[in-house]
Every structure is written in structure tokens, then in C-alpha cells.
């Protein structure tokens, strides 16, 4: 059998270890380099050990306002996470039966994952530009003072930015729901219904606890994919940039380890979120068992 520990097995183990090294190695190099002394550069050798570059990052020296970009990204990530969970779980429930337009919606879901992000970003930007023109036209035609005086743009983080990110996170959420319901044992639900539970009660007491661990997975995708999203957000964030957008700008301008310090911080945030999610997942699974 294949699982015999022969030569091929060890070749495969070696190959897998190399792959893991390839995945994580570079990230750990920059984490290491971010703890250099004040004379450190972008490459090895390490010039002393300190937290100088983190302090530098904190002071905001030489770097754009990272603090507020960071805050914006976290807030947007949490909103995207909540909406991704709510919308994809409810759509997942709907998809258990065929409904009017379900094939089209499924097609859109898959299409949204593979449409080039720059195309979608352009589309949303165009849409909001037309919306702006329309709003201004309304203002001048009907003499609406508020619009004429204060209106600038509909483009923004919580309008176009949020929508563009949802087209990236929702498909992951729905596909996870599909995977969950394809392996879902309907007999628990039928038992609840036979015992006289209302549809809402059946969901709350039976279905929800069973799918809760997977919902953690959807939340994880929702937050992390939004927090790191770049291509789809690139044209639609309006005035305030998210952290990945600032980072992309910094790659061409910053030549000190401060960019590594920033990398270490955001990687730490991502790892914390992933860790918390996995812990919640295991906890919920155990509770169920």
C-alpha cells in the first residue's frame, strides 16, 4: 500500500518540508530583520537587536499615517466579516432548495471569484462615478442646497469599498456553506420538525449548533481576506486608504526596516485572528461532541 514507509514516503516528507520552508521562510526573515538595531538595513547581516523600528513605526516617522490606516482596515474587516457571515449563511440556507434565480446566483458567485479583480474594481469605480454625476445633477436641477454645498462623492470605504470586498469574501462564505450542507444529516432537522419545532426554532436549536464551527471558518475568511485585500480595493476606497494599499505604496518609497516592522505587526494581527478562530473552532467542535 501507499502508506508503507518506503523510499517514496521519505521523498514526499522531504518535499513537503521544503514546501513549508518555502511558504514560511521569507516571512520569518523579515520578522527577524524587523528587530534590528537603528543602523540596520533591508538585508542581512543583523545590526544589533532592538525594537527601534517598531518605535519608529509608532512615532509615524518617515511613514504615512499608518495608525489610522490600520484602524480603518480593522473596522472594515470586522464589518465585512459580520456581513459575510450573515449573508452567506442565509444564502446557504436558501440554496438548500432550488429557488428562482438560484442557478444565476451560483454562476455569479463562481464568476466573482475568477473575474480579474482590476476589472471589478474599475467597474465599481465607474458605477460610483456615474452615481456622483447623477447626485450632482439632482442637486443642481432641483436646487437641493445640501447636495450643492456639501456633496463630494459617494465613493468611500464603507460604500464602494465595502461592496467590492464583499464580492471577494461572500463567494468563499457561500462555497463553505455548500460544503457544509452537502455533508449535512437532514434527519436531525426532520426529527425537530416532527416534534413540532417551528422553522426558526429548528434553525436555532438544531441547525445552527451543527454548523457553528463552519461559521467560524466563514468569519475567518471574511476578516482576513478583507484585511489583506488589495486588488479589488485599489480603485474604490475614496479618500482613506486601507493598510494593504498604504503598504503597496510604501514598497516603492521606504528603504528602512520600518516596512518590515509594519509587516511583522500585520502578520501578528493575521496570526492572532487565525489562532483565535482555530481555538473557537476546536472549542465548538468539542462542545458539540
Amino acid at each position: 500500500m501507499l502508506n508503507k514507509k518506503n523510499k517514496t514516503y521519505y521523498v514526499c516528507v522531504f518535499f513537503f518540508c521544503l514546501f513549508v520552508l518555502f511558504l514560511y521562510g521569507p516571512t520569518f526573515t523579515i520578522i527577524l530583520l524587523s528587530f534590528q538595531g537603528p543602523d540596520g538595513g533591508l538585508t542581512f547581516p543583523l545590526n544589533g537587536v532592538s525594537t527601534y523600528w517598531f518605535e519608529e513605526l509608532w512615532r509615524g516617522g518617515s511613514v504615512v499615517d499608518i495608525g489610522s490606516a490600520f484602524k480603518r482596515s480593522i473596522i472594515l474587516g470586522v464589518i465585512v466579516m459580520v456581513l459575510t457571515v450573515l449573508l452567506s449563511v442565509s444564502a446557504g440556507l436558501a440554496f438548500r432548495k432550488k429557488f428562482w434565480g438560484s442557478d444565476t446566483l451560483f454562476f455569479a458567485t463562481v464568476a466573482s471569484l475568477i473575474v480579474p479583480s482590476i476589472v471589478l474594481s474599475l467597474g465599481v469605480a465607474l458605477q460610483f462615478r456615474l452615481l456622483d454625476d447623477f447626485t450632482k445633477w439632482l442637486g443642481s436641477t432641483f436646487d437641493i442646497n445640501y447636495i450643492n454645498e456639501f456633496f463630494q462623492t459617494t465613493l468611500g470605504m464603507f460604500t464602494s469599498g465595502l461592496g467590492a470586498q464583499l464580492t471577494w469574501t461572500l463567494p468563499f462564505g457561500l462555497l463553505i456553506m455548500f460544503a457544509v450542507f452537502n455533508r449535512f444529516d437532514k434527519s436531525y432537522e426532520e426529527a425537530a420538525r416532527d416534534l413540532g419545532a417551528t422553522p426558526w426554532k429548528t434553525f436555532k436549536e438544531v441547525v445552527f449548533p451543527l454548523i457553528a464551527p463552519s461559521i467560524i471558518g466563514i468569519a475567518l475568511f471574511g476578516f482576513t481576506l478583507s484585511y489583506d485585500e488589495l486588488a479589488r480595493s485599489s480603485q474604490v476606497m475614496g479618500a482613506g486608504n486601507t493598510l494593504p494599499l498604504e503598504l503597496k505604496g510604501l514598497t516603492t518609497t521606504v528603504t528602512t526596516p520600518v516596512i518590515y516592522a509594519l509587516g511583522t505587526v500585520t502578520t501578528f494581527v493575521s496570526f492572532s485572528v487565525i489562532g483565535i478562530s482555530i481555538a473557537c473552532y476546536i472549542w465548538l467542535k468539542r462542545k458539540k461532541g
Binding site: I30, F44, S90, A91, F99, A111, L122, F271
Partner: protein
């Protein structure tokens, strides 16, 4: 209509919020992109019209075969080459990682742990993962230090960073996961008794791999390939950062045109990119039914 009424309508209604997002942020934007690709523009605004100049400009000089290849075709060719090379390496690496996880790791717990180990980087920042190659591949990076100190090279190698090589390396680094997940999924569905039967009948490891595992993994391979190819086709960020902003791509043309507010021109390029992407996907999905694979 009767069929619709017979279904429980309330459950279907739960899809409405999800649908609204897709109508407003997917269908309408893409339709507008198509429409605006026929509009006119000047420095300040876009002007409703029905012209083909945006398209004809893209292919200007492209069908004059006496001259050198036009910029558009050169860019497309370069993007296709990145697609192919990235596809090739992600497929080989992704397949063997999935193969190891599916057939050589026996405990479910370890399977999950190792699978997660491959997935975690996907949930971290792509930009950080790209710039983390700088200390390794840069002129004073670890690889060059190694090459110089061992005498394998007598001058720092410039092609390691900000080159086609570093772009492909970053793509493989970022997107091999897109291959691992669907191929692993396909592999987990293979009935182990088929493999045992083949083994009992005297098939060797390679025969099992070639005649059983690979054919049964075809759906996973196709899905993974679609993801990798489409993500590279439309890329402008990885090619930008890892190419030192010197190497063109289709996505980058759109990006640059947008920054100059030549929106209808960008829209025309986007329409062509989208059409090409859909063509590739259409050809590939002819081979499988995606919905069955979840």
C-alpha cells in the same frame, strides 16, 4: 410560475440580501464597464457616445505584420507566458503536496494540521509575503551572499529580484494553495479500495499514480488551474512589486489608464481581458461540473 409557488418561498427569500450585493456590486459594474468601453472621454470627464476608438486604439498597428509586434500583443504574450510558467510550477508542487497529504498522512488530525499549515499564509498579507523576498534575493541578499562566498558567482546576480524570475517565484509562493485545495479535495474522494485493488493486481506506485490518481483528480486539477490562470491573467500588483514596476501586464495597462482618468480606454481593455479570461474558463469547464465537486 406554478413551480416557483410550490416551493417554500420563505427559504428562497433568504438569498435576497446576498443577491442584492451581487446585483449592485457585480452585475451592474460589469455591465457599465461594457457600456462605457464605447464612450468618449477628454481630460476631465467621460462622455456618453457609441464609438469603437477605444478598441481600435488598443489594436493600433497590431495587424501590420511587417513591423515589430505591437505593444498590446507583446503585453498579452508576456502575460500568457507568466500564466503558463506559474501554472506549470503550481500544478507540479500543488499536486505533490496534496498527494502527500492525502495518501501518506494517515491520521485525520495530522492531515488537518498539515493542511492548515499550508493554508495559514493565504490568510496573511500578500504584499508582506512579496516584500519578504527582498532580504533573500536582493543584491546584498542571502542568496547572493551564498553565491559569492562559495565562488559560484563572482558578481551579485541582478536577475534574482525585480525580474521575470522573482515574479514567477512570488506567484508560485502566493498561489500554490489554489492548486492544493481542490486537488486534495479530489484525492480525498478517491475510494481507497480502488488503489488497493490496483496494488493487489501488481500495479506499481507510478502506475497507480498515472492510471488511477491523476485521472480521478482531473476535476481538482481543472479547478485549481482556473484559479491560478485567472489570478495571473488579471494581476498588476505582484508583477508591479516583484517586477520593480518595469514589466508590463494587461492588468497594469488598465491600472495606468485609470490613474490618467482614461476610463473608457481602461474599460475597453477590461472587456477584452474579461472576454479572454471567460474564454479560457469556458474551455476548461467543458471538462467538469464544478458544482459536484464541493
Amino acid at each position: 410560475m406554478m413551480k416557483f409557488l410550490k416551493l417554500k418561498p420563505t427559504v428562497g427569500l433568504l438569498s435576497i440580501p446576498y443577491s442584492l450585493i451581487f446585483i449592485f456590486f457585480f452585475f451592474i459594474p460589469l455591465t457599465l464597464t461594457f457600456i462605457i468601453s464605447f464612450w468618449d472621454y477628454n481630460e476631465y470627464s467621460i462622455i456618453p457616445d457609441f464609438i469603437f476608438e477605444n478598441y481600435s486604439y488598443i489594436f493600433k498597428d497590431c495587424f501590420n505584420f511587417e513591423k515589430d509586434m505591437c505593444v498590446t500583443f507583446k503585453t498579452y504574450l508576456s502575460t500568457f507566458i507568466f500564466c503558463f510558467v506559474t501554472w506549470f510550477f503550481t500544478l507540479i508542487i500543488g499536486f505533490f503536496v496534496a498527494y502527500f497529504l492525502a495518501f501518506y498522512v494517515n491520521s485525520i488530525t495530522w492531515q488537518i494540521v498539515l493542511f492548515l499549515l499550508c493554508t495559514i499564509p493565504f490568510w496573511t498579507s500578500n504584499v508582506i509575503r512579496m516584500i519578504s523576498w527582498i532580504p533573500l534575493l536582493g543584491r546584498n541578499g542571502l542568496v547572493n551572499d551564498f553565491l559569492l562566498s562559495t565562488g559560484l558567482a563572482d558578481a551579485p546576480q541582478e536577475w534574482l529580484l525585480y525580474s521575470g524570475f522573482s515574479i514567477v517565484l512570488a506567484f508560485v509562493h502566493l498561489y500554490t494553495l489554489f492548486m492544493i485545495v481542490p486537488i486534495f479535495n479530489s484525492m480525498m474522494r478517491i475510494d481507497k479500495s480502488i488503489i488497493e485493488a490496483a496494488y493487489d493486481n501488481g500495479a506499481n506506485g507510478f502506475q497507480i499514480l498515472w492510471n488511477i490518481i491523476i485521472p480521478l483528480c482531473k476535476p481538482g486539477i481543472v479547478i485549481g488551474s482556473i484559479f491560478v490562470i485567472t489570478v495571473v491573467m488579471g494581476d498588476f500588483i505582484t508583477i508591479g512589486i516583484m517586477g520593480g514596476q518595469q514589466i508590463p501586464s494587461i492588468g497594469k495597462i488598465i491600472y495606468v489608464e485609470m490613474s490618467y482618468l482614461q476610463l473608457p480606454a481602461a474599460a475597453a481593455n477590461a472587456v477584452i481581458l474579461l472576454a479572454l479570461t471567460l474564454l479560457i474558463i469556458w474551455i476548461m469547464t467543458k471538462m467538469i461540473d464544478i458544482r459536484k465537486e464541493l
